[in-house]
Symmetry: C2
Subunit: 224 residues, 2 copies
DNA sequence: ATTTTTTTTTAGATTTGTCTAAATATAATT
DNA sequence: AATTATATTTAGACAAATCTAAAAAAAAAT
């Protein structure tokens, strides 16, 4: 029931890449984990013998129920630690990920449950991503179109409803991608355009049409 | 400037065993780290090439200034995390050590400095051991004879002023050693004996003479 | 339906930290 | 001082996680 940090990272990466219930390719994993395809193959064989995933050579990989369970626990730890770092230790948004990558491998589940309680059982992390509970069930994300995002509320882009190259081209131009953190500074009533700010980038304006097609997640936890 | 968890554990163990400025033996280290003498020898050679310690085959080992610096940073992290676990997450005394053994290897120094501040810059951990500051200087311990320890105050044995075999024999009988956590339950006026409790052990009574020769550290931080 | 390209796997090494068993050095005892 | 006992080191192996280069399979392109 205990896995090495490396194995945990593989499970987490597969979980993230395995959007619906599709299989994940060796190369995609290698890219995600910044390692070689050969290393990935080696590790997949080990994880398979531990029944954490289904894997047939050349056929890609998919987590088993057990594998998903483990992945969700890592994600739970990661996000709770991020929340702690931002809310209690006053870290900025962008600097917490790297530290949480280390903290998520601390094994004690008692620790993480106590931390959860200490933080007031938050349901989303500072980026707006949902935090799985102790049983591993992850609440559905509070997912809104950018049009409905409250002003000044930090949010993370989680999906785009229009996948046309024209739109993706525009997103690229604005440096917006899945996971991009942003906030709406203000709305202009005249033409319904929105002023957007992304950390460490100049502010810019987008059209109502673009905003309508951008879905974001944000923290809805009520702070006492 | 970054060392593996294993190396950090070696440095910490040597630091603790190297009471004054004596050399530490291979066997003592092996015992402390629950490993074989052969493994210790292997590791000492590696740490020597990194100039973290002085080591001559068969002659024992001693930390260099750099080695001490690293050890003190690990100890700082360990004790700050222990404080966090007890004070913020309501863990008991005895359960925090194991978790802190993992947390102490999280690398970010920014994290630990923020944690320090968040906790109100405590100067001793829950066991009464002093917490080194960011520069690695460790405050002198509040060191009292057991005779002067306030009743019910938890403390840790840090030294014994009498090293006779007769005394060490008695200490062994009572399961008391350096680092043992204990508290005085009550004093008996008639013969000045003390009732002592050690977590997870039956309470027992010791003589005034023994108490006079036992030095303990305890937390003197004033809690608001 | 071949050929070419891309993806994936195998083969063989490497590093880190560990082990056991055997050899050697030091310390203790007679 | 010689012998016995203890402590320490060397030699040789192993598991985990990684790598590069080569081989094999699958997919894409002609």
């Amino acid at each position: 029931m205990k896995y090495s940090p490396s194995k945990e990272n593989y499970l987490k990466a597969i979980f993230h890449l395995q959007q619906d219930d599709s299989v994940v390719s060796t190369n995609a994993l290698a890219r995600q984990l910044n390692t070689s395809a050969a290393s990935v193959t080696d590790m997949l064989k080990k994880l398979k013998t531990q029944k954490l995933l289904q894997y047939q050579p050349y056929r890609g990989v998919r987590l088993t129920a057990e594998g998903k369970k483990v992945a969700l626990q890592i994600i739970r730890k990661h996000r709770l630690w991020e929340y702690f770092l931002v809310e209690k230790l006053a870290f900025g948004w962008e600097e917490v990920h790297e530290i949480a990558e280390e903290l998520e491998h601390i094994s004690s589940t008692k620790l993480i449950d106590r931390l959860d309680h200490f933080l007031g059982n938050p349901r989303t992390d500072p980026h707006g991503d949902p935090i799985p509970d102790a049983q591993g069930s992850m609440p559905l994300v509070q997912q809104t179109s950018l049009i409905d995002l409250p002003v000044r509320k930090q949010a993370a882009v989680i999906s785009v409803s229009n996948q046309s190259t024209a739109m993706l081209d525009l997103l690229k131009h604005h440096h917006i991608g899945i996971g991009t953190k942003l906030a709406v500074n203000r709305r202009f009533e005249f033409d319904q355009t929105l002023e957007i700010s992304i950390p460490n980038r100049p502010v810019f304006t987008i059209s109502e049409l673009l905003a309508a097609n951008l879905f974001v997640a944000y923290d809805t936890t009520t702070t006492a």
